[in-house]
Structure formats: structure tokens, C-alpha cells
Amino acid sequence: MINFQYARATDVADAVRQIASDPAAKFIAGGTNLIDLMKENVERPTRLIDITRLPLKTVEQTAEGGLRIGALVPNSDLAYHPLIAQRYPILASAILAGASQQLRNMASTGGNLLQRTRCYYFYDTATPCNKREPGSGCSAINGLNRMHAILGTSDACIATHPSDMCVALAALEAKLHVAGPSGERTIAFADFHRLPGDTPERDTNLERNEIVTAVELPPRGFAANYTYLKIRDRLSYAFALVSIAAALELDGTTIKEARLALGGVAHKPWRDAAAEAALRGQPTNPASFSRAADLLLREAKGYEHNSFKLELARRGIVRALTQAAQGTPQSQSNKKIR
């Protein structure tokens, strides 16, 4: 880790001012990913601006009937918040599927959105990586790529976004409130994370001088028919090979509205409008679910070590939609998949 100077921000405007005045500065909140990357010399900020004292720690109801979650609400507090557990259980479930309780106690809502990929080569400064060192090449494409993406990849990068929380936020169609030098703006969740293209060094469309202040959930929470199904190499405390957030609104056994978001398969939480459209108006049966899975995966492409993800994702989608339709969401403590 390189030496750095430490400063505290007193309010959001001060935070934005401080980040704008030093191009080598970074914000720190929970620190669980940034400090790890600093120890690996992947992140090398020469100034850290501690934002943990900013007043962004509340969960409030919005006029529209949704919720506004402050960017500094810790992951664990969010998962156990009564309004989240009751109205947006898919979000609570996804958060509890990720990391460990110690990490969730530290990690912030905003930081979870901004965490970096866990691609081994991104972490290993001895190897080329276009995300870490633009133009140096991608070691994963022809290397160890078991964890890597099967959708939306580019010749420059096949990394995946590691978050579980973000997969649920994608399904819920959250939006983000950000502040910057020219004021505040909102970003639809689907427009926040990027595909790698030829600029994999940019994970999101957040500008360098901007700060995430809140995540807003719309009123619709899909609390009756949802699941977050995460498949990984061990039962707990591991990143997803494939994860599926499925949320349905049913009229009897007919699907009125469907949301389907996948983690572990792309550079961002993956949604597919055609797959969701194909579910609407259909009966809740395996044929409908299989068709949606095939549609979502129609352009999926495996690499040497991760081709298993194509079939894993296909079966996972069918299973997740079945769990959601039956109102039997995946337990995050009893890991038997039913």
C-alpha cells in the first residue's frame, strides 16, 4: 500500500469540492473493497476522503410510495430493515447472500454499487489487465476464466460484476441519486453499470467528481413472488458463479409482470427485455420459463473454463422462476435448492 493523506468530508458539497480538487483522491466509506485493493497496489490513491460522517444513513419513504436509501446505510442494516424485509424481500435476500456479516456491517450501500470485479488478473499486478492498466491486454480471455462472463463481453475484458445487491436492484428498477460539481442528477439502474467494450477501466457512468447519495426504490416490491437464487463453489461466503433475481406479478397462474436479472454472468447485472416480455401473459409453467431462459441466453458465449455457466444459468433461471411463481423463495441459510 502506498502512503496517502487522509481528510474528512463535512457534507456532500464539501465531499464533491474535495474530490474535484485532487485527481488522485478517492472517497472511502466502508472500505472493504478499496482497502483490499490498496493492499494489492491495484488502487493507489494519494488522498482518501472519508465520507462516513456524511448524513446519508437513513431509509425514508418517498412521496411516490417507494423508499430512499441513504448511500451510507450499511449492507447489514439495509438487509434487516423492516421495510426492506417486508416490502422488498428480494433485496434483503440478495444482500444476505453476499459477503459475510462482518463485511456487511462495514460495507455501505453506495460502496456496494461501486465495488470492483474479483477477476484474479485484475488483482494480480504482475499480469496484463485492460481494466487495471488500459491497453495492456486481457489475461483472462485465454487464461483461468472459470468465474468470468458469458454475456456482453468484449475482446478487451470478460470480467463480471461481483455484487449480489445490485442484481436485486436491477430487477427492482431502482434509481440512483448522485451529486456532482454541477448539481444533482438521477441515473436509472440499468444505465449505471457499463459493459466493458473498449473501455473496461470504467465500471460505471458515475463521473469521477460525483458521489452517490441515495438509492431509490420504486413502490413495486414483488414481495409475494420472488427469489434470489445464488449458485457458487461453496455454500456461503463466495462470489456467484451464476445468480438469479426473479420477481413476478401473477394473476392466478398467469404472469402479469416479470423481472429477471442475473449476476455472475456479465460486466453488469444482466437483464433482457425480450426474455421478460416473453413471460408476460404466459402461464407459470416450465415451458414458459425455459423459453425465457433460452431467450436471455441466446447470445451467451462460454470460454475455456466457464462454458458450464450456459447450462447452469439456463437451469438456474427455470428454477428461480419456479421458486418465484410458487412463492417459495430460496432460503439464504438452508441452502438446499428446491
Binding site: 482497502i35 493507489r44 482518501l48 462482518q102 456491517n105
Partner: protein, 171 residues
Amino acid sequence: MAQTGASKASERRIGVPEKVPVVLTVNGTQTKLELAPWTTLLDALRERLGLTGTKKGCDHGQCGACTVLVNGRRINSCLTFAVMQDGAKVTTIEGLATDGKLHALQQAFIDHDAFQCGYCTPGQICSAAGLIAEGKAKSADEIRELMSGNICRCGAYPNIVAAIQQVMGQP
């Protein structure tokens, strides 16, 4: 800030490290420290305060050996800078016993032989104390899930769960 002609912002170095004042209340005793900002809470506890009960395992938040309680919540002390915890109350394994009497979890770990080498044990016990305070784990499955941030390479997991269940008053 000294800049020595490095072309990229990310490669600039800062000059003489400035130490920053940090006040921590560790195991009930308030301590004033002057620390370089990059000192993790773990290193401050071990290297500056001599509290070596908190272990450095992986130093990357993957093993849980460094778990301590900060303001009553369990965290990985290797993944936070001490300066960020300025003003906080920290409880380490050394602070759990009272008046020479072991904490119920310490006694339960002995009763159930919940360790072999013992390296992960301070983190396991602090994590379990946090788990019980959270009140979310009701079943053995839930204890296992919510203790998954603490790795035991000796594999004492069944006895660790039994020890925690004893303190929680479960059969």
C-alpha cells in the same frame, strides 16, 4: 505535497507521512494515539497497543481471524483504517472476560473443544459475540450462515456451532 515529476496522477507519492491523532476506547480504556493514516485498526491493536489476541490471518477480509467489535458490531479490523474509527469503542478478545471470569463464549469454546490450533478462535469468539447481539440467528443453519465469515482450517465447525448454541441457550 511533494510531486516528483511522475506523469500519472496515480503514481504520485506524498512526502513525509503526517501522523494523525486517533482516540480509541479499547476494552474500556481510552487511548490517544498518533498514527500514520494507513495504519489498519488491526495493526494499531497489535503493534501499538500490544493486544495480540486479535490475529492477522489473511489481512484481506477473507478469514475473519481479525474480527473485533466496534461500537458493538463485529467487523474485520484488517479492512478499516484506525483513523476512520476515531472515537469508537473497540472490544477485542482481551476485553471479553470480566473480573477474571471467562466470558460465556470463552467457557463454551472450552467446554465443547471448539478449536484445535486456536488461531481463528479470538475471531470466532468475537464474531459469535456479535452474532448473539444481532439476534438474527435462531437455528443451527442460521448460526452456520452468519458465522461463515470466520474460517477454521482445523475444521472445528461442529463444535463451534455447539458452543454458540450453548451460550444462546439452545439444546
